[in-house]
Every structure is written in structure tokens, then in C-alpha cells.
């Protein structure tokens, strides 16, 4: 039988209420050894005093002072999502109507694209002699888009300007799309700030 007193590390194991294979004999020793029990009790007084220590409170303005130094950044995609979500109706019935309308609109757009593609024989052009046919098809598709958006006169002007004109038209369209996205972002960020 081991008659030695507990080592400091073993006292720590008991203080930390460790469980495990080696702890049983330590507990048994504590039951029998008054000196080690006294050392454990002294150590426990310190630990109890530490665990009773309170948390201190900073000043009442602490939170505001921190926030004054923290610029809250809204990622554009999070702001855009929240802006869009505020237009989504809350009731189930209204959402069902919105889904139905969106499905109808998507179907119409899909049919329109298919019609243009079929009408311009895109599939045929891809399988035989793409080069010149593609150019012709792109012009036709461009005509349909530009004429729809801006009118025949604009298309005629662009066509007259040649490749440069088409390139300029594409730039204008992309710029419009980019501007729309930027505007959407700005609206979303403004809406998020207003909400907070």
C-alpha cells in the first residue's frame, strides 16, 4: 500500500474534480489521510474564493463608445437580399399569387427566347458553317433587342455605324445593366440602414 502523501499535481487533479482511472486511489487516500485532506481543503478555499469573484461592469456608455469606433459594414449581397425580401408578401396566398405570376413571366420570356432562336436558326448555324451565319444571326438578334428597347431608328443608326456601332450598343446595354445593379445595391444598403 502506498503511504506517501499526495503530490501537488494530485491535489490539483482533485481540485479540478477530474474523473478517470487514476483518481480513485487519490480520493481513497484523502478519506484516510488527515494531512492531505487539510491541504486539499486549504486549496479549495482559494479556488472557491476565485470562483466567487464578481464580474465588474464598465461604464454605462461603454457600448456606445465601442460602436462609435466600429463602422457597421453591410455586404452588398446581404443588403440586396434583404431589400428584395421586403417585397416578398407575408401571407401564403399572396406568395402563391406572386409565384404564379413569376412562373408565367418566366415562361413567356423562355418562349420568346426560344422563338427568336428558332426563327434565327441558331441551332442550324451551330452545326454548319458557324462564322458568317453567326454574324448574321447576332445581327438579327441584336436587331430584335435594340429595336424592341430603343426603336427601329436607333437600330438603323447602329447598323449604319457598323461593328463599332454594335460594340457601342453592347457597351451601353452593359453599362445600363451595371448601373441598375449599382442602384439596386444603393437602395438595398439604404434600406438596411433605415431598418437598423
Amino acid at each position: 500500500m502506498n503511504h506517501r502523501h499526495l503530490l501537488p499535481d494530485e491535489i490539483d487533479l482533485l481540485l479540478d474534480e477530474e474523473v478517470g482511472f487514476g483518481v480513485g486511489p487519490l480520493r481513497a487516500h484523502i478519506q484516510d489521510c488527515e494531512a492531505c485532506r487539510a491541504r486539499l481543503d486549504e486549496a479549495r478555499v482559494v479556488v472557491d474564493a476565485l470562483e466567487d469573484l464578481p464580474h465588474f461592469a464598465p461604464s454605462y456608455a461603454f457600448s456606445n463608445q465601442v460602436m462609435a469606433q466600429v463602422p457597421v459594414f453591410v455586404p452588398w449581397h446581404a443588403a440586396a437580399r434583404e431589400w428584395i425580401q421586403q417585397w416578398v408578401p407575408r401571407s401564403v396566398a399572396a406568395r402563391a399569387v406572386m409565384v404564379a405570376l413569376a412562373t408565367t413571366a418566366a415562361s413567356v420570356v423562355t418562349l420568346a427566347i426560344l422563338w427568336i432562336a428558332t426563327d434565327t436558326d441558331l441551332l442550324v448555324a451551330m452545326s454548319a458553317g458557324v462564322g458568317g451565319r453567326m454574324r448574321e444571326l447576332v445581327v438579327q438578334a441584336g436587331h430584335a433587342m435594340i429595336a424592341t428597347l430603343f426603336g427601329e431608328q436607333v437600330f438603323a443608326a447602329v447598323r449604319h455605324a457598323g461593328t463599332a456601332g454594335i460594340a457601342l450598343a453592347i457597351i451601353v446595354i452593359l453599362g445600363t445593366l451595371g448601373g441598375s445593379l449599382a442602384g439596386l445595391r444603393a437602395l438595398a444598403v439604404a434600406s438596411a440602414r433605415k431598418g437598423d
Binding site: D12, V45, E51, L53, P58, V66, Q86, A192
Partner: protein, 212 residues
């Protein structure tokens, strides 16, 4: 879409609140401050032993963490990251300057009795008798003094272990120390605190500089 109300935030785990903060929710930032302002301030206050300084350093801690909230990784505990920054801020300050102010009374800026009580070194008054309460206060003051005399590394470890209730593994991860080193520091801190409190056990007033 329903917005995250203050009540919703109260019930969310830290990782979810951080996710909301990463999406730009002002209320989520404030909730994180509300949850941890006391523990962080307490840790730093006991490290640097000066209330105004501790408040400045605690603010620095939160500003650093919240300004880099996008770097938080959910596989780690937010509190561990926060305490790591707090500890580093306090240790860096102690290395640059010698702080020797020990303040046991309430904040000099406190203007009401409630504010004084909230900001002073006091032990919880849940004892059954006046004598017990007196002994508890004496022990509480003595242990605060004794903590102030520990090495900063020991101080961080012992407070994270027993005031914040962290496991050895969490402390090791928070302070970037080997597990064995954390156990050694805590063991030594307990020993030094026990020595510093011996005068209470013996019933005699002990000098503050009584080391074994």
C-alpha cells in the same frame, strides 16, 4: 421578412449572432458587446489594476474584434477569440508600462451608490451572518490583492480557469500555450495565492509582501 429583434438575439448562440453581425446587423454587434463587456472588462481590470485604463483597453479589444468580425471562423468559439485579444491587449500594455495602481473601491467616475457598488471589488454578500460576511469580504479583498501580485501569465490563466470557468484545453487554445504550460501556470498561481492567504488562516494580519 421578420427582422432579428432584441429578444431573438438573446436566445441565439454566439455563432449565429456573429453571423448576423457579419451581415451588417447593428443590433448583433451590440448584443455581442452586451454579452461579453463584463467578463472582458473584468479580465483586463484584474490584469492592469486601473479602472480607466481597463475600460480603454476593453474598448480597444472590442473595436479590434468587431472591425475584423469577417475573419471569425465558426469552428472556434467566439469567446475564446475575444478573450485572446483581450489578454494580448492587457499583456502588451503591461510590457510597455508598469501599472502599480490597485483600486479596491468603486470607480472615481461613479456618481450613484448603485454605480459605486457595481464597480468596486466586493464579494457576493450571500453569507448567513455578519461575521461570515466580514470574513468573506476580507477574503475577497485579500485574494484580489494576491491576484494583483501574480505574474501576468499566471493571472490570465487563473482567471480564465476559475472566474470565467474555462477548461484547460480552452485556455491553452485562447492563450496559444501548450496544455502542460497552462497546467503549470495554474498550479503555480494556486500555490502563490495559497501562500498569500495564509495569514487569514492563521488569524494574523499578513504583510502584502509575504512570499514563501
Amino acid at each position: 421578412m421578420p427582422t432579428a429583434t432584441a429578444l431573438d438575439l438573446l436566445n441565439l448562440p454566439d455563432a449565429d449572432v456573429v453571423a448576423l453581425a457579419q451581415r451588417g446587423r447593428d443590433s448583433a454587434y451590440r448584443e455581442l458587446i452586451r454579452r461579453y463587456e463584463r467578463p472582458v472588462f473584468s479580465l483586463i481590470y484584474r490584469m492592469v489594476r486601473d479602472r480607466e485604463l481597463a475600460e480603454d483597453l476593453a474598448q480597444d479589444t472590442f473595436v479590434k474584434v468587431l472591425n475584423h468580425i469577417d475573419r471569425y471562423r465558426p469552428e472556434f468559439k467566439f469567446s475564446s477569440w475575444l478573450f485572446k485579444i483581450a489578454n494580448n491587449v492587457a499583456i502588451d500594455h503591461l510590457r510597455r508600462r508598469q501599472v502599480d495602481t490597485i483600486s479596491l473601491d468603486g470607480s472615481p467616475h461613479a456618481t450613484t451608490a448603485d454605480a459605486v457598488q457595481a464597480t468596486s471589488f466586493e464579494v457576493a454578500d450571500q453569507q448567513e451572518s455578519a461575521l461570515d460576511e466580514l470574513e468573506a469580504r476580507e477574503l475577497g479583498s485579500a485574494i484580489e490583492n494576491a491576484i494583483g501580485r501574480l505574474r501576468p501569465e499566471y493571472r490570465s490563466c487563473i482567471m480564465l480557469r476559475h472566474v470565467e470557468g474555462r477548461s484547460y484545453e480552452e485556455i491553452a487554445a485562447t492563450l496559444d500555450l501548450p496544455l502542460g504550460t497552462v497546467k503549470t501556470y495554474i498550479h503555480r498561481a494556486r500555490h502563490e495565492l495559497r501562500s498569500a492567504l495564509e495569514h487569514l488562516r492563521d488569524g494574523a494580519p499578513g504583510p502584502l509582501g509575504d512570499d514563501e
